[in-house]
């Protein structure tokens, strides 16, 4: 008997009990729909993380001052005073894999504009910082090298700061007060959003020339961090090694002793974020798979009922020449048709759900073809797996008993 014929007979058998067949399918529909929707949400999150890392610049390295232990108290990153401007110059001079570097020192302060005030982070750096981070300006521009040389009172503000201090007012050219010093706003940065890797609002920031911050606000001459860009993404690992070796040498750290600085490679962080998003996807998918499993059990249940109900029919088919294989095949195909039909509707449901999630919750969702193919294969596998036992049971019937069954 050819496959089309078997499928036709299976469809007719399923159509005989439309309500029951559709309820059975519902289990698979919900299962497949849930798997697709959840995988889409997970992959959307993964894509977003990747995009954000890419926006940060994946060939970026972040060198930060290390931790120090003073009388048994560990002070956390940035506590050492050993990272200096000269270190940055040495990195630029001696590390071949490094393309650019910008120094950074950090403080926090209350910022005032007219009647509004806002507590934020003040970072001192140099103009190349904005290039390294590929951070464009919404308005105005960066402070200049001259501003750095003269320790001028100029500031670049982030979107969050702009929103909180200025509202509708154009900030460029206005004067704000940082730690009671007047600063002229020269530029506003484009919003970057919350960082995927660090989970903080990157726009809640004010950047001033490093000299200004060190001389007029903090009075410190050491650096909190150095932002480095490698010549390429692949070179970032080489750069990391070169910087580590150079700084250990410059800081006279003996072998076996801990570094007094810390180099973070954004390629590493991208991998980490990617890994986390993938884990998230797997978690969601496995929860959704449980409903697919329940749907499969529903198929098995209904197929068992169907075999019992159609015992006599099975007997007739056997009497007129159906082999065990024919009967088994017939019921197996029936289960597969049921699960595949459910799978097809489930795909539609999953895609609709994904779309609704994007629309209502604003989550990024990515319906991937892989998820759809997986769902189809999975629902077919569910049909075969859960249809096998009932089909076997049907095939094993004794024709004489089956014919006598009332």
């Amino acid at each position: 008997m050819d496959l089309m014929q078997i499928i036709r007979i299976a469809m007719r058998a399923l159509a005989r009990n439309k309500l029951r067949s559709s309820l059975t399918m519902l289990g698979i529909i919900i299962g497949v729909g849930a798997v697709i929707a959840m995988v889409s949400v997970g992959q959307g999150a993964q894509k977003q993380a990747e995009d954000q890392i890419a926006a940060m610049g994946s060939n970026m390295l972040f060198v930060s001052a290390g931790t120090v232990t003073r009388g048994g108290t560990r002070m956390g990153y940035g506590a050492t005073k050993t990272l200096l401007y000269e270190d940055m110059q040495a990195i630029l001079r001696e590390c071949a894999a490094v393309k650019a570097a910008a120094p950074g020192s950090q403080s926090s302060a209350q910022v005032v504009f007219e009647n509004d005030n806002w507590a934020t982070q003040i970072n001192g750096t140099e103009p190349q910082y904005f290039d390294i981070r590929t951070w464009p300006f919404a308005e105005g521009s960066s402070f200049s090298k001259d501003d750095v040389a003269m320790a001028a009172n100029v500031a670049v503000i982030g979107e969050t700061v702009r929103k909180n201090l200025f509202g509708a007012t154009d900030p460029v050219g206005q004067t704000i007060r940082i730690s009671n010093l007047p600063f002229r706003v020269v530029g506003v940065l484009m919003p970057k959003g919350t960082s995927a890797a660090m989970g903080q609002d990157q726009d809640d920031i004010i950047l001033v020339p490093i000299t200004t911050l060190q001389k007029k606000i903090t009075g410190q001459n050491w650096l909190r961090w150095i932002m480095v860009s490698a010549t390429s993404r692949d070179a970032s690992y080489t750069a990391q090694q070169q910087i580590t070796a150079l700084l250990r040498d410059r800081h006279r750290i003996r072998p076996g002793q801990d570094d007094d600085f810390f180099v973070r490679n954004l390629a590493d962080m991208a991998d980490l974020a990617d890994q986390q998003a993938r884990l998230f996807t797997i978690l969601l998918a496995s929860i959704a798979s449980i409903s697919l499993l329940v749907g499969g059990i529903g198929i098995m249940n209904i197929m068992l009922v169907s075999v019992t109900e159609r015992t006599r029919e099975i007997g007739i088919c056997m009497a007129i020449g159906a082999t065990e294989g024919d009967v088994q095949q017939q019921f197996l195909i029936e289960a597969v048709v049921l699960s595949l039909l459910g799978g097809a509707v489930g795909i539609l449901l999953g895609m609709t759900t994904s779309y609704l999630i994007t629309q209502t919750l604003g989550w990024p969702v990515l319906v991937s073809p892989t998820a759809i193919v997986t769902a189809v294969v999975f629902s077919m596998a569910v049909g075969i797996f859960f249809g096998f036992y009932p089909a076997r049971k049907a095939a094993r019937l004794d024709p004489i008993e089956a014919l006598r069954y009332e």
């Binding site: 009497a319 007129i320 020449g321 159906a322 024709p399 014919l403």
Partner: protein, 261 residues
Amino acid sequence: MATISQPALRATGGTDYSVIIQVEDIHKYYDLGETRVHALRGASVQIERGEFVAIMGSSGSGKSTFMNILGCLDKPSAGRYLLEGIAVSELSKKELATIRNRKIGFVFQGFNLLSRTTALENVELPTLYAQVTKEEGQKRAREALQLVGLGDRIMHYPSQLSGGQQQRVAIARALVNRPSILLADEPTGNLDSRTSVEILEVFQKLNDDGLTIVLVTHEPDIAQFSKRSIQFRDGKIRRDEPIQSRPLASEVLKNMPTLED
């Protein structure tokens, strides 16, 4: 009733065995826990091509068991059964299914048609398990329905047909693969007397055309339309004799009142 002009529907097969069924001292017993139930205690029968045999006996006589063995639905516990020279007891389940499909046509008491399936599709069913193309299967099914006088009702569903018509569909289904033998198990058990005779008329005409028929019944009235009667009792054959002066169903029908009020 259409004229029977389908020699192809007779037994086919390369070698022309004149003996179709040869049963030698077969036994059948079932082990039910401690006790052993003997359904057949040594039956021997030989049936030749073109015979019309009625197997008689009360319930529990072993006639149903015998019928199941003849139909290759069951195997004897002991003894030999040759169907057209093939030793059936040595075949696998799959081979038995093929034998049932090609060499045997079944007609049951309860018609056993698939509901919500047209007469044509019901008759086609055995061809689906045979190596027959769909076109050929459909052609044969139409011919078989024509033969039993239902050529104009091929698209009807069983629920739209009378008992007699349903049984004719079942007969057509039994004939569609051109079997060597037609096995009918109480084929008139669910029918009124006039319809019963009508079915027997079909059997007689098929038999006249050369088809070998074995009919199981417990009604002597029905058995008398055959050519030979075999009586079972307690798992053994008690009597095996030709029917003298059998009536022609077509003649009997002429003298029967039609049931139309």
